[in-house]
Symmetry: C2
Subunit: 346 residues, 2 copies
């Protein structure tokens, strides 16, 4: 470190050797005599020598750090995914730099430029809910920069992708509600721009259809900010519950923040769950069991998603030849049935 950095030069001077000898000794090169090696290594240890990673990065043209862009680390799903990413990255000697888009397209671009300018070797990204235009990512990708999408993948880019079976998650949730007697099920969905939203809507749609229930587009409300703002969820629910000639008895919330904000709304309106309105939410919160009523959720294997994503990324980074075949890995979500998805008031 700058305040008192010990360099190879210092060692060389102290031991009356050349820097290259020291360098080679430390790297255990076969050309160096055992005695010299011993002396050098012991001395290095003694003065606590650490190679300067910046010099190495400059030389090797790689920083051994990777960037992560997510909307919010304060979101359980993402903090769990980041844990998964770190668990592998550190083992493999990679450093992780996290940036948050806060669901803003603009900030996503700023973050991306920032990370790119910090010489990261690769990028893990879950796009912001505002992101429709992908030029910023396409530009990097075209120049051969390794990018792996996780959770919120985009289809128009040939890269590795890791996500969950959103279709199935929504299908299962819808089916569960139907089984419990609900015929009128609304969905509070995330941003229309996101493919995960489309998949979840599709699963919901299909489940209705498979149970001979009509699909009514008015039963879906999209929230551009993915529930980050309470107001958008409030508006969505107002419309669904009070400006709708087809008042739902159950709601599916298709993302973490949507789920909690739906609950917040129901509470503010004194609506009892599930008797007044039943619900299942996509959520990775670890205290959904403590809510009252306890919340039925679709839970995503966030940690594993992070692990798989980082493994693909590192594989691509360390690949000598350009990657041409990209994988799309789909993990299964888990449905946890608790009280909130129960039967409607008879």
């Amino acid at each position: 470190m700058k305040y008192e950095a010990v360099t190879i030069k210092d060692i060389a001077k102290a031991l009356g050797l050349s820097t290259s000898t020291v360098s080679r000794a430390l790297r255990d090169s076969y050309e160096i005599s055992p005695e010299t090696k011993k002396i050098v290594i012991e001395y290095a240890q003694q003065i606590n020598y650490r190679p300067n990673p910046i010099a190495l990065s400059l030389k090797e043209k790689r920083s051994r750090s990777i960037g992560i862009i997510v909307c919010e680390i304060a979101n359980s799903f993402f903090s769990q995914a980041i844990n998964g990413i770190e668990s592998i990255a550190y083992d493999k000697g990679y450093n992780v730099i996290i940036a948050q888009s806060h669901e803003s397209y603009e900030r996503e671009i700023i973050n991306l430029q920032y990370l790119a300018s910090r010489s990261i070797d690769g990028l893990l990204i879950s796009v912001s809910s505002e992101t429709e235009n992908l030029d910023h990512l396409i530009n990097l990708h075209k120049r051969g920069f390794p990018i792996v999408f996780f959770d919120r993948v985009v289809e128009d880019l040939a890269t590795h992708k890791v996500g969950v079976d959103n279709y199935k998650g929504a299908y299962d949730a819808t089916t569960e509600l139907i089984k419990n007697g609900h015929q009128n099920i609304a969905m509070v969905a995330g941003s229309e721009f996101l493919s995960i939203t489309k998949e979840r809507v599709a699963g919901y749609h299909q489940a209705l259809s498979d149970h001979d229930l009509p699909f009514d587009a008015n039963q879906i409300e999209y929230c551009l900010h993915g529930g980050m703002l309470y107001e958008e969820v409030e508006n969505a629910l107002e419309k669904l519950l009070y400006h709708n000639n087809n008042k739902p008895t159950a709601v599916i919330a298709s993302a973490d923040k949507l789920t909690t904000n739906c609950l917040r709304y129901f509470k503010s309106k004194n609506l009892q769950v599930p008797s007044d309105i039943a619900m299942i939410g996509f959520s990775n919160l670890d205290l959904t069991d403590l809510l009252s009523p306890s919340l039925s959720v679709i839970r995503q294997p966030a940690f594993e998603i992070g692990q798989v994503a980082i493994e693909l990324l590192i594989k691509q980074i360390e690949n000598k030849r350009p990657t041409t075949e990209f994988e799309k890995i789909i993990l299964q979500p888990q449905m946890i049935i608790r009280e909130s998805s129960g039967a409607k008031k008879s």
Copy 2:
């Protein structure tokens, strides 16, 4: 970036200038003629030139990145604090590298070595709950490395420190419970090693004393892992509630994870809050209002703590002279009274 990095050299070659001229033109040096400047700057923009931060770091002996070590980013308090840190760091051109100790002393040391070897310019740390020995930090600090403690500060090191008034938080919580008729109040505390634990215990103690209530050491249980493990909270509560000849009617949980795990325990035992057992918890979760009963909490200004801490750190980093006077900044916690702290069963 390595795949196709544009350097100053490329520009120089393309424009038939020397690298130094290009460098100066880009930095808007007064020695360069306006025409040359214009040509260089325009061309640089056109080919999307970005200075290589690694080369700069090597030269300037600083990386413009700072390290953060916290126990868990999945902890609301810390994710909010990190948001505060980032909000300032990015503005000032600093990059942030986050590492998690998961409350392990060993991992804290590994993280610290890792960050130090990555040439960070400074460190923000909230020590792990296992951390008793501070040698790893003292070593760095002695060599003049900038360190700022936040939230979990340690007293034995002369550095900047930012935290909340833990004493007052616990004092207020205890007083509130006493006002509601509770005379037998237990505390589920964090690690005994942490000064924040000691302060919170002291506040609790003083409040009892100020209301002429006896202090009973058996009413306090310490959790080394700060509630990260459910089992330790379970054990603590078993002892307090069932192996105690002084069964409490109210509990104060002195950290985020302790709070949620107390609730989990009460739920599993079918204990009604607050009628069977009242509680107030330290918590920065943003859905404590949704719990049933809604949770009374002591909330810390996490975002602000992060902001203040990073400002102190950057000030110290950018200070030409070694810092000799260190600040200790104490922010005020906020008590939010909801249902869980209510009166006991009559």
